[in-house]
């Protein structure tokens, strides 16, 4: 095991240009820029009215117009939860009868003890014993996949994992991308053709699940399969990870189609070569071309 691959140290003069061609002219506004001077528009998020009654943008972002409502959606924001969203989160804290979950939003979301399925799948009242043994179900650092049940008045979210497809996530890789790159779709769980599981959380947390042997879901999603993952599955996960990072770096929307295209275009490189900037630009451009064919 003593082989040492060559180490490349690049110089800044050889830096490749990461700016891909921007799309057509989109309505892009900077803070303070005038959006509209006509009255009769309702102002939404990201805008404000100054003394002369003109509507100006307060964040840097893209214009969104719905009938009479004008709002400016910023490019990089914290995740704003909506009811029904699928999110991937990490447990940060255990409190009485609930867990605090980090979901890349302004405040930690809440997962109540009554919103989870207890192991064994029984439906029973939560006892005082359950409270003490909360740590046995979910610990700090665990990753879960959940749905947003409701929002509190201060903007924080309440999650639930009552459906069997949600629950603790097992072996795999978790990535963080900007929430703006993930569009709201009908389904966020994708079983890709190559066998891996891809969960695109609305909050920008993406989960690549390795293909493990056991598919037993009867335990209510709390058991973890810690058996060894085969090398081919590992390679698939690594390639997917690098592809998603490429798409995120070049600001291409993440959907299962774009990820699949990027995966196919990247087959000519080995997974570790995808970390070099030439490969990144190559794969990103090819994916963009294929996507724009539609």
């Amino acid at each position: 095991m003593d082989e040492c691959p060559p180490i490349t140290v690049r110089l800044a003069v050889d830096r490749t240009d990461m700016n891909l061609t921007a799309g057509e002219n989109i309505g892009f506004y900077t803070p303070g820029q005038e959006v509209s001077s006509q009255t009769g528009f309702m102002r939404g998020h990201g805008t404000y009215v100054d003394e002369e009654e003109t509507l100006r943008a307060s964040v840097a972002g893209v214009l969104e117009k719905v009938n009479k409502l004008i709002s400016v959606r910023p490019l990089k924001t914290r995740y704003q939860g909506e009811i029904g969203d699928v999110v991937v989160g990490r447990i940060t804290e255990l409190q009485q009868k609930r867990w605090k979950v980090d979901t890349n939003s302004k405040m930690d979301s809440v997962l109540l003890l009554s919103s989870v399925n207890l192991p064994g799948g029984e439906l029973r009242r939560r006892s005082a014993e359950d409270e003490q043994t909360m740590r046995r179900y979910l610990q700090e650092g665990d990753l879960i996949c959940a749905e947003v049940q409701s929002t509190f008045a201060d903007g924080s979210l309440s999650l639930h994992t009552r459906v069997l497809k949600y629950g603790k996530l097992s072996q795999g890789i978790m990535l963080k991308v900007s929430p703006a790159l993930i569009k709201r779709k009908k389904t966020h769980f994708h079983n890709l053709a190559n066998g891996a599981i891809l969960i695109l959380g609305n909050n920008g947390y993406v989960w690549i699940g390795a293909n493990t042997q056991e598919k037993d879901q009867s335990e209510g999603g709390f058991t973890q399969d810690l058996s060894r993952v085969a090398l081919q599955d590992r390679e698939i996960c690594a390639r997917l990870r690098n592809c998603i990072l490429i798409l995120a770096e070049c600001n291409i929307l993440l959907t299962d189609t774009s990820v699949t295209y990027a995966y196919e275009e990247s087959m000519k490189y080995t997974p570790s070569e995808l970390l070099q900037s030439e490969a990144i630009i190559d794969v990103a451009l090819l994916t963009q071309q294929r996507l724009s064919q539609f």
């Binding site: 082989e3 180490i7 795999g172 590992r234 390679e235 690098n242």
Partner: protein, 291 residues
Amino acid sequence: MADIPLSLAEKTFILHGVDANFRNDGRIRNEYRAMELETKLMPQTNGSARIRLGNTDVLVGVKVEVDTPFPDNPFEGKLEFFVDCSANATPAFEGKGGDSLATEISNTLALAYQSPHAINLKTLSILPHQQCWKIYVDILILQCGGNLFDAVSIAVKAALYSTEIPKVTAATLDGGKPDIQLSDDPYDCIKLDAKNFPVLVTLCKIGDNCVVDPSSEEETCSSASIVLSTLPDGRFTSVVKMGHGSLQPTTLIKTLEIGKLVGIKLNASVMESLKKEDALGTNRPIFGFLR
């Protein structure tokens, strides 16, 4: 390092991956991420360098000043390292948060450069017992993406390589007081002999194997890591074990062997790139933080 919380399943995945010699991002155990190096990007310093290794971003500035030598080392100059973990990197570094990490890095650098085989401080003497050059190496950590020691040491080597010390045209003792005259010409300077400067190589022990250039997630999974300071000819100037785990003696020897190979390769690649950059001449475009 700032610890990223990971679940047990993720840690197991990483552990098994290292065992199978296939890491999370597709690299094998002994593979480095792509790195980019640039020197002489800051005009106010005597030497500077910036390195980007994966998500890690480190900026180094070197300034030289005239100082009196230590009384017990009158023929030698001085070299001092200072590391600043900027709050830019993570909010955890704000205020005193990054201090312990910063002292650890600067101590390790000081150990690496203490040997005269690495740097000969006698070349920094102007007037023995009276005046010498003191080199201040200031390191700024802008982004923390794992493997800080290696990135910092490569940037320090590059910055010292590019350091230009003004030439002393006259140095005499004028009635007991030293009198020094430096050359006016900004291009008339001497460069340090960088061919023996060491590089730190971090080897993280994950499970039964050790991994080169760990990412932040891999660092969280390891119980112990060894930081070696290797000279270009394969000798070690310092070996420090970090982390709260223990190793078997055979693992230690194996780790040292791998570290030696990697260190020699890394030193060679860095010197090659630095020479290439030098060959572009003084008119090469400086990119710095643009693009």
